[in-house]
Symmetry: C2
Amino acid sequence: MTIDKSKARIYLDYSSVTPVDERVLAFAQKFLTTALANPLGLHRSGQEAGMAIEEARLQVANLIHAEDPKSIVFTSGATEAINIAVRGTALRHKDKGRRIAVSAIEHISTFNSSKDLKKNGYELAVIPVDSTGLLLLDELRRRLTRETTVTSIMYANSEIGTVQPIFEISRIVHEQGMYLHVDATVAAGKIAIDVQKEEIDLLTLSSNELGGPQGAGALYIKPGVKVQPVSFGGGQERGLRSGTENLFAIAGMGEAARLAAAELGENQRLVRLRDELIEAISTIPGARLTGHPHHRLPNHVSFVFTGVEGESIILNLDAEYNIQAATGSACSARTLEPSHVLVAIGLEAEEAHSSLVMTLGRTTQQSELPYIINAVKQTVEKLRGLDWA
Amino acid sequence: MTIDKSKARIYLDYSSVTPVDERVLAFAQKFLTTALANPLGLHRSGQEAGMAIEEARLQVANLIHAEDPKSIVFTSGATEAINIAVRGTALRHKDKGRRIAVSAIEHISTFNSSKDLKKNGYELAVIPVDSTGLLLLDELRRRLTRETTVTSIMYANSEIGTVQPIFEISRIVHEQGMYLHVDATVAAGKIAIDVQKEEIDLLTLSSNELGGPQGAGALYIKPGVKVQPVSFGGGQERGLRSGTENLFAIAGMGEAARLAAAELGENQRLVRLRDELIEAISTIPGARLTGHPHHRLPNHVSFVFTGVEGESIILNLDAEYNIQAATGSACSARTLEPSHVLVAIGLEAEEAHSSLVMTLGRTTQQSELPYIINAVKQTVEKLRGLDWA
């Protein structure tokens, strides 16, 4: 087939940053201008701002089937929510124990929050995963104790797409330890989440990953679970996240959550595109799928390629085909370390540097697949050719 | 005069939340949609996002005459910047001393950050102010020691408008203690700030107070001053503020800073409106200006009224005149405590509950003043009448 290099951009980096849904923008725009006010203001504008935030809280609660909108705390993003969930919960319960547990493939925010606790005398258990990225449940069972106040596990991983069996994990955590925090940043809106049925104590969400604006995140805290703040100020959001509320981002997150809940079924479309891409790319010599073949995010395609640099793949797809994809996690893309996630699933450092991650979204079309598949094939062949030269 | 109750809203609560400048929106809009990407992404969209952030950093540095754009760290807002400045600096230098100092009229973010340090064994000196809100410099000199690692002082106060003599304060801090953090949240864009000439070590800014979007703030850190993070994650912003950058808010803050620097002279217009309002409202029986008559923000009008509840004034101005103003700080408006700022300048609790704060901005017009003045007069008279009934 012929490649049309003048083609419009094909954006396949949704899990790094998601384009804001135009319906969310249309909804939330007024909170940048005419309806912008401090929710603590006593005048009507302030009251309207406060009502917009409560409506957003309700929509976010609905998305994850929380028992009460009050269980949702808005933050400035997932990183802040994770800091509150991990450090705020561990510190609040330090009299009950100073042990925490995380999986080996958590986001760097969870790792670095945990490491700060470790520096302050906590014991940190890192639970390994198998070669598909699934948590080793026997290991989890073995490593948790009554002193493990917080266990933090990703619902799904952004680099390899693997989705964890959260309910099984929550049963183990509640038998052996105390509270389960689930980082649902990339999973929410992609798979159905029910914090009550799955018996989740704390859960982190990101506005942008739902198609909402950047600048908002949310932390679900099961009623009765006590958490302390890790930053200090005006005491907004039940004292857990001080600072004037980012009205536009929070209202936008609410609308994005509402749309995500209503349109969860449409992820079936992405599953078909995903599987078609995976099947085609698997035929490239030396290509290997990373993560789990079935228990994976509906929009997630990830591979390693023998003898090719992931960074070179990204740059070539961008320059030659106007396709924007990722290698590993954006959050560690500029370090020279191999991805801790790919190391955790057993890849050698060299393989771990050869990864391609393509995350699909609302704009991805069936008709684009042949172009994308060909671009990946030709890019890998071209780069291998260069290596041999 | 006749009062036209169908009048469009007159918003006089700028220092609580500032309407976003339409030029900022026009500039930053693309970072919500087409130009939105993760600055860590390796593709061109990621690089463009990174460049937009560096351009914003330059504009913010220019506004405060920082020596180097790299001295600017973007945060999610002023509260987060203050947490990093106060706690991050004090914790980083705990081997040099465990004393900090703040004025008696600081924002609650500064107070609560300080109180967290106090809980962790630090000694906290609260420096009093005079009846106009000016810091008592002799007290400052007397209370600082070589072990005072951080002294945190507001450039200007949002409740009473008083502007501090920052250069004199920085000289005292550097003679007696270590680092000066200046909370310039409400001062920036209103008065000229030069961190080099004024010898400021750390300085906090808010995007929204400059007319930029909510969701961004900035912390200036003088080159050479060491600060540690207070939250943990991907290590963005020199490791001091982890989390994917809020591109729209940061780019918008940069443009707002550029406009604020270019238009600093236009605050002279607000000074004239301010003085006309102050003069007229002073003639209301039992009205008393709070804060300093001259060393005050160009857009700031604040009064207490004998025998009238501030909250009732706000609600009546809103309901009857469509004027939106504030009483005390929005951040403590819904607590029953009298404002700590008004108590610090020597008001009795009852007087402190009778405050009216009107902060002017770009939309405030000379032609609106007679209407505003009359509304305040009639509101105070009406409420006094109700009390007597």
